[in-house]
């Protein structure tokens, strides 16, 4: 296979990692909403941990993006 084409396919595959992060973020917010529904007075504390978890999960998705950038940098 031509090397450039393979690199482009690899960059596309990096986007597949976002699916996992999407599931994770959805799960975090679903659980947060459910917990706040059960315990409305604990919302401030729960929201804090919710955002930390959100950032940690989102970072994993962005590692895939960084990998795509690295591949892109190696092509040209």
């Amino acid at each position: 296979m031509e090397l450039g084409a393979a690199a482009l396919i690899g960059m596309g595959l990096c986007a597949a990692g976002f699916a996992g992060a999407a599931i994770g973020i959805g799960y975090i917010f679903a659980q947060t909403i459910e917990t706040v529904g059960r315990q409305p007075n604990a919302e401030a504390r729960i929201a804090k941990y919710c955002w930390i978890g959100f950032a940690l999960v989102e970072a994993v998705a962005l590692y895939g993006l960084v990998l795509a950038f690295i591949i892109m940098g190696n092509i040209s």
Partner: protein, 243 residues
């Protein structure tokens, strides 16, 4: 379409070199100065215009922002130690926030989209946590590598894992901020490129998304500054309390 990362490239405006190091002044340096000036100027304005018992609008803004950070520091580091680390954490928060927000001004530059900037932030936080740990606990600090309640036979396995997780902290801290800012601005660039290159019939759709993503980017600027400082608090709290 041209390379979407093109606008992250830096070209020196004024060539300078100091003892063999390249200290040329480019767009990022100027943006960083503006950011520093904005943060410093805001707080100086509050102080210079007189701190009153009944606060004005500006003073209330500054007080709420500082109180928010103080609550965060007290929660994760502990009330008795919080006052020592509060100035550092507050400075870090406001500087990262200013760096993130300055990128939202068209034509300016997002400083935190450079890995070297976020890397310096993260490594200085990492070195600070090690320093605090060794000053506070001496060699007993190394017990952070062995989580409590681990069976003796697992200790040779746990130590390398804990060392790896320690080293992964600054890496994830810096890459998270850098990748978030870079990704956001790349999405904006791509969407705006689509809006400009298509006829008006279809072009309004990506343009509308650009407006929405702009709002999201401002939220992300706040969230990422918050996350960076809250994780700094967690790491400092970790080495103070040793689990």
């Amino acid at each position: 379409m041209e390379n979407p990362l093109h606008h992250f490239e830096l070209h020196p405006l004024i060539h300078l070199s100091l003892m063999g190091f390249d200290v040329s002044i480019n767009k990022a340096v100027i943006a960083m100065w503006v950011g520093l000036l904005a943060v410093f100027g805001l707080f100086m304005l509050v102080v210079k215009s007189g701190v009153r018992l009944i606060p004005g609008k500006l003073q209330i803004t500054a007080e709420i922002a500082l109180g928010f950070i103080r609550d965060m520091v007290e929660e994760f580091i502990g009330k008795e130690e919080a006052h020592k680390y509060f100035p550092f954490i507050a400075t870090l928060f406001f500087f990262i926030l200013a760096c993130n927000l300055i990128g939202m001004i068209p034509g300016s530059y997002t400083i935190t989209s450079q890995l070297v900037v976020t890397g310096v932030f993260a490594i200085s936080v990492f070195i600070l946590t090690l320093f605090i740990g060794f000053v506070k606990h001496g060699f007993h600090f190394l017990s952070i590598l062995v989580p409590p309640g681990v069976p003796k036979i697992m200790i040779p396995l746990m130590i390398p894992i804990e060392i790896i997780s320690m080293i992964a902290r600054p890496v994830s801290l810096s890459v998270r901020l850098f990748a978030n800012m870079t990704a956001g601005h790349t999405i904006l660039y791509v969407l705006f490129g689509l809006a400009m290159s298509t006829p008006l019939m279809i072009g309004w759709l990506p343009f509308g998304f650009t407006v929405a993503i702009n709002g999201l980017e401002i939220a992300i600027a706040f969230i990422q500054a918050y996350i960076f400082t809250i994780l700094t608090c967690v790491y400092i709290g970790d080495v103070i309390h040793l689990h």
